[in-house]
Structure formats: structure tokens, C-alpha cells
Symmetry: C2
């Protein structure tokens, strides 16, 4: 049978799994609850259950070359979760490679969920054929990933691409990480909502736009999706929030460009459902915050893969790291 | 004869060349004037002259596998100087690989001078055996270089590692590059001198320390070397300049750590002649400006190679990029 990999995407709510070939063709997509609240051992048991299910579906295991896992947090090169997975209590310290090897006699590879997603975009999405690529996922937080010279770069302890904590304002807004002025505080979904609430509260009597009125009625109910509905409707206060978030994001992208000189920046995550308008506004600001010769040679585009980027990247990483590059 | 490479270090004043083996053992070190003011063609002619001299010294060319060149500015993957070499008028646009191939029938590889120096530190200096390494050279400006997974990462257009233009203060000091608040404005030799002059001018009557007096007597004569003589003598105003410069540098290093998660940061360049005190003070500030788990796993050390890092890195890059890795 054709050499195949198992790809697993571990999220706070769901575990997803597939079996795929080196070209990204996949089968048996399956979703089960993570049961994160039951602790790290239960999460591992559920991963085992998912792998068992996928092997059973395949009817055989001989052609499975390994298991790839995308997970919140950081995984070191021995496959140990060393931190950063706050939504998975007890997951830190898990020895993923060892556990999967012991249970299934299969090699495993793992990486931070956004790192893995970046690799999926590089192999099958908005980064196809681009040797130097950086991804930012704008969601509840901001994560990132790096492909350098056609190679997934994870950093020494699986922590490369922590772009959410790039400082974009000196003595800026307090971040949960302890730093001040992290881009996550401005351009993640909660960051955008927080700015919107502030901007609406500060809006003068001449600025009681529909957006301001709706926000002030129930600030706690505001979402970045709502903000962007008003942005697309050209509400001036919503547009101001949008410009503010995009400029801060552009500062972070400028930093990344000066440091890496990539060919392309891919923006993904829930916030990017707003689409083209974010790309356009970010592109307006980026040249103000980096070496112009680098900006001129780098494109900024939206991610192409949807929800399945995680499992696809996890599977692709197996072929990449176990050196079965695209071979059948 | 043992496979050897020619390494050339192109500086604004001097051209240096060596012949070396894959282990970094070199011979025939030769220095000639760059004659930068005579234009790009003259610089190229002088590089030819240097290569000819080295081949003549060797007595044969068959065992020379290629020529490596470190140069100010950016070189793309075709070997064309695409910018950033302001001290070499007419050098931009030079097609280095083509010119060397046409003249000597030898393959060439090239890179930014600090990128090349970084590779030397990785192969033979403070970064030996460190797979993920970042270098910053603190001199007239601040340059940088990246080794990722034991591989010299140049970026798409040879522009990776422009760390001097990482923004460390929002709306900070105007940089020559057009941006504001670049770390180069604070922690390069001229940046340190500029801060010293400001701090001395602002010093109150109770603070007329020897350092303040000397600086105010002739501000234009101040050098970063003098600043550090007073730092080592514990002059309180000089110490304040030092802490200020090191904190800004730490912001930049924090950014680099969050983006790359390297094992080690190597600090080099003329400013680092001040030695240990810069490392110690930078280390005090770094954890305030990045993810603590990354900082805890990354060391900051002084460069080990001196002036010959450029030629050594250029030669080593030949073995690296032409795939003669350390083979005799």
C-alpha cells in the first residue's frame, strides 16, 4: 500500500485525525472530544483512541510511516511538551514520541499547532513553492510559524514563531505573558474587541455611529466578527479600530521582515475571515515599519487552507521529518 | 591536493583573502586596499587581483572548489548585489557569481558580511555545535546573521538578519533607514556616543563627573571606547548610558528570541571590546522583553573570532553551499 501518515490536530475542544499520503490526499477524517478538563493522561488516551480508530479504518498498519501531532504549546526535539499549553491542564510534561512509540511501535513527530499549520500552507496552501515563508494566525491569541529554505523551522525548543509576543508599542498594553505592548494585545480577536470598546467609549457625541451605539449597549457581547461587519459597512469608528489593529500588526510584520526577509507572509486564523480588507490595510502600513527593499520583495496574502490545515500539516510533517519526502 | 576554498572579505577600506580547508585551517592571508571610491568595477578588479594572487601562491587551481565572498549589503541567490552597500558606490548591481565564473571558471558564493561572520562563529567560534544561532555585530551600525538547524539562513534576497533595524522604541529616534526607534540608534557605537552626549548635556550640577566633564569639553571627539573606559571606572553617568544602550539591545534580543527561539545569541563587533559588562547587563534585561521559557533556554555570549571571522566565514560558506561539507 502507498506510504501514509497519520495526522492529528489537538485542540482545546476537539481532536481531529486523518490518514494521508505525501501529496496531501487524505481519508477517514475523524473528530472526537479532547476532554481537556480530564487532564493530560486522558488527552493522551483520546489520542491513542483516535490513532487506533484510524489504523482500524485502514485495515493494516504496515504502510503507516508515523504519526504527526499539532498541539498548543511547545514541544522539544525529544517530543516532550515543555510549556505554553495553558488550555490543556496536565498536558505539559507529556512525552509524546515515547508514548506513541510504546503504544503503536510508530515514530512520532510533533509541533506547535500554528507551526504545523504553517507547514500545511507551505505544502498545500498559500505558500506552495515559496522557500521562505512566515505565517501568523490571528485568533484568540496570535501564533506563528516559519519555513526557512524549504524547511520547517521549529527553533531549539519548538518555540520559534512566537510572533504574538513581538512588542509593537513601548510600554504598551499589558499582556498576559508579562510583557507590555505585545501585538497579541492589539491584533488578536480579543485585542480588536478591546480596542473597539475603548474607541467607542471615547467617541464624542458627534460620533454616535451605529457601531458605537451597538457596542456601548453591551460591550461584553462584542466580537471581532461584529467589528468587521461594521468595518465592511464603512462605519467610521469601526474603520478607526481596524486601521489601529492593522497598523500594530504591520509593526510586527515589519519586525519579522527585517529579521527573516521571507518571500511571503501568510495571514490566517479566525480574524482573517474579514478577508481582503485586512491584507490591504496591513500592506499600506508594512513599508513604514521595515527596510523598504525587503518589503518590496515580500507579499502578504491570506491563508488558503481552512480548518483542516492542522491535520494536513501534522501529516505532512511526518513525511518531512522522517525523510519520506513525497515518495509513494 | 586537499580541497580548498578561497575566502574574501570585502570591507569599505580593505579587501582580505585567504585559502582554507573545510576545517578552517587557512594560509596566505593577504590584505589589499578596496579602493571603494574608484567605483564598483575597480572593486571587482581588485577582488580578481586578490584571487589571482592567492591562486598563484597555491601554485595550482585544481583543488580550489570555489570562491566565497562576504560583502556589505545584500546579495541575491543569483549573486547579484541588490542594495544596502552605501559605502561602496557603484557596487550595487554587480553580478558577483557570473564575474568570478567568467574570469576563473570557479563557482562563487556570497553573502552579507555579518551573515558570513555569523557562519564563521558557528563553524569555528562562539557558536560551535549550536544548531540555532543568531549573531549581532555592534559596530558603526548593527548587522546580524542567522544559523537555523545547522544551516546558514540568508533569507530570500540575502537580507535576513537586518537586526539593526528592529524597532525598540515606538516613535523613537530617527534612523537613517527612514524608520524611527531602530536599535541601531541606541546600541551601535554612534548610538552609544549620541546617548552619552545627550545624557552629559542633561547632567545636573551635582553630576559633573569626570566623564561628563570630558564629554562636554569636546562632544565631537567622544567614542564608544571612551564611554566604556568610564563605564569600567564606574562613572555614574557613563553607567547610565551603558544601562540605557543595553536595555535597548535587550529589547531587540527579546524580539529575536520570540521570533526564532535560538539556543544562543553571539554578540560581536567593535563595541563588544568592552567585554563581559555588556553581556551581563544585556542578560539582566533580556528576560523582561521575551517569553521567559525561551530566555531561560538561550545563552548570550561574546563572539570568539576576531578580525579574521569574515574571511573564514566566506571560505566556510563555499564548503557549506557547494556541498563539500568538511570533506578533504
Amino acid at each position: 500500500m502507498e506510504k501514509s501518515a497519520i495526522g492529528i490536530d489537538l485542540g482545546g475542544t476537539n481532536l481531529k485525525g486523518i490518514v494521508m499520503n505525501g501529496a496531501g490526499k487524505y481519508r477517514h477524517l475523524k473528530r472526537i472530544p479532547t476532554e481537556a478538563h480530564k487532564g493530560g493522561q486522558k488527552v493522551l488516551d483520546n489520542i491513542f483512541k483516535l490513532i487506533e480508530h484510524l489504523i482500524k479504518k485502514e485495515g493494516a498498519q504496515d504502510h503507516i510511516i508515523g504519526v504527526g501531532l499539532g498541539t498548543p504549546g511547545f514541544v522539544d526535539h525529544n517530543g516532550v511538551v515543555i510549556g505554553g499549553a495553558e488550555n490543556l491542564p496536565g498536558w505539559k510534561g507529556t512525552s509524546v514520541y515515547e508514548a506513541i512509540r510504546a503504544k503503536f511501535n510508530l515514530p512520532a513527530v510533533a509541533g506547535n499547532d500554528v507551526t504545523v499549520t504553517t507547514f500545511a500552507e507551505y505544502k498545500f496552501g498559500a505558500g506552495r513553492g515559496i522557500p521562505n515563508l512566515v505565517c501568523l494566525a490571528l485568533g484568540t491569541g496570535i501564533g506563528g510559524g516559519i519555513v526557512a529554505d524549504d524547511h520547517l523551522y521549529k527553533g531549539s525548543h519548538g518555540m520559534a514563531g512566537e510572533f504574538g509576543h513581538l512588542i509593537v508599542e513601548t510600554n504598551g498594553r499589558q499582556c498576559t505573558c508579562g510583557l507590555k505592548g505585545c501585538v497579541e494585545q492589539y491584533a488578536s480577536a480579543p485585542g480588536i474587541v478591546a480596542a473597539a470598546v475603548r474607541f467607542c467609549a471615547e467617541a464624542g457625541p458627534q460620533e454616535l455611529t451605529p457601531f458605537v451605539k451597538e457596542t456601548l449597549k453591551d460591550p461584553a457581547a462584542l466580537t471581532s466578527k461584529t467589528v468587521y461587519e461594521y468595518v465592511l459597512a464603512q462605519d467610521p469608528v469601526a474603520l478607526r479600530v481596524h486601521e489601529y489593529a492593522c497598523e500594530k500588526l504591520a509593526v510586527a510584520i515589519g519586525i519579522i521582515l527585517n529579521a527573516f526577509s521571507p518571500d511571503r507572509v501568510v495571514l490566517g486564523g479566525g480574524v482573517m475571515k474579514a478577508g481582503r480588507i485586512i491584507i490591504d490595510t496591513v500592506l499600506k502600513f508594512v513599508p513604514r515599519y521595515c527596510w523598504p527593499e525587503i518589503a518590496a520583495r515580500c507579499s502578504v496574502v491570506a491563508a488558503e487552507l481552512g480548518e483542516d490545515a492542522g491535520v494536513l500539516g501534522a501529516g505532512a510533517m511526518v513525511f518531512e521529518e522522517l525523510n519520506f519526502h513525497d515518495r509513494p
